[in-house]
Symmetry: C2
């Protein structure tokens, strides 16, 4: 199907927008009127520009407050329309979006609306223009596709059809099944947008919070399936109003947008049982490794050693160490001591039953492929760049052949057996992109986005997980400023966190984040844990949470550079991430460390 | 009255918060539980810290989901409460906030709620603690003060009273008049917050968008008057949840908060006819001048000259030039050529019938007084710093004595007769503060906040004006980045903008911002202006708007540094600011200037 995007979805001047969406592979665009009005090029030149980029101008929009008005107003509305038609002829746009009237002057009369739209369609036909009538969710009287379709049918003009917009339909909770009653050739246009499930006025929600399909909470495939069953053959066009996207990098947004349409095409193909545009999904089933780059591998190695890891290998050709404990594998790659980059998480490896196919799918979803310099004989690993720049490697499930490059010895067995989850930090303009990326590329399912109070601002995060919890990520929205603590971390799964905590507390150096005593005083109020258990948690500095399935114990190390480790134990299938304790953890990370002469400085 | 603030209103660690609110002059605080839990100090030490700062701990909050539950839950809820009471005793907090139950497990039974709250009050009394029961706007069953008061009365315990929160009352549109039916000694606590008038779910609105009194759209004085008529003698306490404030400078927010309470005290005194805490308002009645600091006064002087201004004087002792046309007065102060500061607006002078009183009032509203170096014999001008750092001078209405320092000659008379408005640019954390500042200090009334689409993001702005429109400001929310154009400007009132535009277009150098031709093509659709008028507007590059009162013509100059001039003509009492044209203006400001060999570079 043709893929289109409204110019309002991306930032920049009109010509920057056209160039970016053409580069991302779109076939056409909706020209948003304000983008044309602010453009120094006349419509004819915009048309040439679009032509030369291979972009079809699918739609000109929006035309507002036309139908169902008193006769004295109609003349002025037709006059307005004639000017738009002339502009469209110059632009080479063959279809105009007519939004349902929102004015208090609109009359609640479908026959009148149909009659006036028919008149408009006759005028449009003189210019070779077709009209797509869109019921806005906040239309004065016409606010559902069922009613809009009744009016279009009543008007009965070949140049008048309906425009279906997923936001307007799904935000009102309308059932998309009724769309199948509309003949496909009367559906003139389909606009797609997702949105987080928020309880607010639909107008405000629509104008600020729309996002690309797969980034919010709507079932877009469920909407599109009945549309396609009608035989609709027009473009799938994205129309997203979003405060962040307006400021984001134009080219990057265009790629994000295209990825969302490709992933949606796959979802709808699954619903309809038709051919998929993508290589089949390969579900990752574990973490192979996480890689930290650091200026000071000694300090980080010391911390890993304290946690029970051992250095099991050194890469044959690169300054990278392998540290292991059971199947928890951490790579430490050394950066030059003068590098401005402090310790940070730079790569994760996931295990896949078919790494080559995983990588092929990731590339088909427009992930930039990475080629690392590889010595002859080194293991070949496919890798792509993720939205925050972290490298994502695909490794063979259960067969870490790549360890051979490190000539690695057998790892020690301890309570820590693997990586539970990895927390990645995203700039404001990549947070939604990341959710779609991991959803489409790795098949992870997103949890709801949550907020935690940090002493210096809210921290927004969103967890994602595969079905059995063997690959879990938390995506956080990075704040910028020296007052914000690390937001990257690696959580390690521990089979006996009490024993680990006891051992770590007994060390001469302090490697654990201190938890405030007030937390434990309040924990008594939150949970009736019994005196002994409560005392143990307090003494060991363990944080506690509980959900309907089970219990969760966790603690954090001190931070090195941007990174800290979390040790977690899930008991009886707890599925969360201890987010109830996040505000306390964040406050503790802001608290200056107590001065202790015995404590070596392991902070970055 | 005692003034208090919830620790959740400001950013920082708990001790940073206590210090900042004490410095701003608050008498007490509400301790928000999460702030205590994340604090490394035990409650006893927090109490000492508050004592030493002269702060009373007025309230501990929140205690949730207690009342109207099944008997088996009651025991656990009482157990929870006992732990909180013990924490409060250590903290020295004598009152606990009990929010109405929001849980789906709460029973819709006022008698049961009253019975259980009475039980809780008995337990609290054993600890010398009082309970303030607060009906949340989203309470499961109890969501109005009328119902909460019925339950409190039914419970009939001296340690149980009601907490009134302005947000919960006004967001639901409840009439505050009924508050007078509650005995003053049963109103245990009053929490104050304002909010912009948004159509969204009350919970989301409350958690993210609250602001300080005078910054939003609620009638706080109208709420507080009936409260005070009951004889309520407790503190006025601010409780504001706001995403921006959490990240803003702690000390600055505390001062902003205190200013809002002082201004509110004045407003409520007016309603009640009691003594005001402030010097009486003095309404400014015009602009005396605007001052630009520039590295290159020649370039800026050239632009002013082209607009018909003349350099009428030079300051006796300082490198400041006076440029005038009629009563439009612009000061150009020279900064060193190597200064990093490009051309920017640094000061405005407003005319006041009593400048000394104006300044006294501004200082009473916590505006930082400024003392400029002044030569003997120079005119004395009172000045304060505004939220964005612009200096605000108070000058004698109609008597610009300060011109004598410039030994100024008679200004030329032209079409431009004065300053229409000044646009000031504010960082994200000072936008709401500025609205309150100009409202309370200058008595300007705010318009609703509006948004305009800029090619690289939304531009939010809010206009303010005195009653007769002689002092108008527009406050914009500054975006940070090289892609954003100037947002400071000085708008000059022109009695014949057509003549001015004609003269400026005839100049060899191009001093005007080009308006895209597409704007004029669309203007035909928007307004039926007649061919001749339309052609004139297009030829002269004039933008056009209309409201119910009159018409508006305007144009902009090119930008120098951060600043441009707008020339405006208001016809028949038009009251707006041409905001319908803002997206086109912003797009034009992003468009690179056409290369013209004849045009001298007047851009910064």
């Amino acid at each position: 199907m043709r893929k289109s995007i409204a110019t309002v979805c991306v930032g920049g001047s009109l010509t920057e927008k056209l160039e970016a969406v053409a580069r991302a592979g779109f076939d056409g665009v909706e020209i948003f009127e304000n983008d044309l009005l602010g453009c120094p090029l006349p419509p004819e030149r915009v048309r040439e520009r679009a032509d030369s980029l291979g972009l079809r101008i699918e739609l000109y929009q929006p035309f507002r407050d036309f139908e169902a008005v008193a006769p004295d107003r109609l003349a002025d509305n037709l006059r307005r329309a004639e000017h738009k038609f002339r502009m469209m002829e110059r632009l080479g746009a063959g279809m105009m979006l007519v939004c349902s009237n929102v004015s208090p002057l609109a009359v609640d009369d479908d026959a009148l609306a149909a009659e006036q739209l028919r008149l408009l369609a006759e005028r449009a036909a003189d210019h070779g223009i077709r009209l797509a009538y869109e019921p806005l969710a906040w239309g004065r009287h016409v606010d559902t596709y069922a009613r809009a379709w009744r009016i279009v049918r009543m008007a009965g003009h070949p140049n008048l059809g309906i425009c279906l917009d997923s936001f307007h339909i799904l935000s009102r909770g309308s059932d998309p099944a009724g769309i199948e009653a509309i003949p496909g050739d009367k559906i003139f246009f389909v606009q797609l947008a997702d949105a987080p499930l928020l309880a607010m006025d639909v107008l405000h929600w629509s104008r600020h919070y729309r996002c690309f399909p797969g980034q919010g909470g709507f079932d877009l495939a469920g909407l599109l399936a009945p549309v396609l069953r009608t035989g609709y053959a027009g473009p799938l066009s994205l129309e997203v109003f979003n405060d962040s996207l307006r400021q984001a990098d134009t080219g990057r947004t265009a790629v994000d947008a295209m990825r969302s349409l490709i992933a949606l095409e796959e979802s709808v193909a699954q619903v309809l049982g038709t051919a998929s545009p993508l290589p089949r999904p390969v579900r990752p089933d574990g973490f192979a490794f996480a890689e930290l780059a650091t200026r000071d591998h000694k300090r980080l190695g010391g911390l890993l050693g304290a946690l029970g890891f051992a250095r099991t290998g050194q890469h044959e050709t690169k300054p990278v160490e392998l540290w292991e404990q059971g199947r928890a594998r951490i790579l430490l790659s050394r950066v030059h001591p003068d590098s401005p980059t402090d310790t940070s998480l730079v790569a994760i490896g996931v295990e896949s039953p078919d790494p080559a196919l995983s990588a092929e799918r990731a590339r088909a979803l427009l992930s930039p492929a990475l080629s690392r310099h590889r010595a002859p004989g080194s293991a070949r690993l496919d890798a792509v760049a993720t939205p925050d720049g972290t490298e994502l490697f695909f490794c063979d499930s259960g067969h870490p052949h790549w360890r051979e490059d490190f000539d690695a010895v057998t790892p020690p067995e301890g309570h820590i057996g693997g990586i539970d989850h990895v927390a990645l930090s995203h700039p404001w303009d990549r947070f939604d992109e990341a959710a779609l990326f991991y959803r489409s590329v790795l098949g992870l399912r997103p949890y709801e986005s949550v907020e935690a109070a940090d002493p210096y601002g809210l921290l927004r995060s969103r967890a994602m997980s595969n079905a059995d919890g063997t690959v879990r990520l938390t995506l956080t929205l990075a704040r910028v400023g020296p007052q914000y603590p690390a937001e990257q971390h690696i959580a390690l799964a521990d089979a006996d966190i009490v024993a680990t905590a006891r051992r770590l507390r007994a060390l001469p150096e302090n490697v654990l984040l201190p938890v405030p005593g007030n937390y434990y005083d309040d924990l008594r109020a939150r949970f009736d844990l019994g005196e002994e258990r409560h005392r143990e948690l307090r003494e060991l500095g363990l944080m506690y949470d509980r959900d309907e399935d089970g219990e969760f114990l966790h603690l954090c190390t001190v931070t090195v550079g941007r990174v800290f480790f979390e040790i977690v134990q899930r008991i009886c299938g707890y599925r969360g991430f201890g987010t109830a304790n996040t505000p306390v953890r964040l406050a503790a990370q802001h608290t200056p460390a107590p001065v202790s002469p015995a404590a070596p400085d392991v902070r970055g």
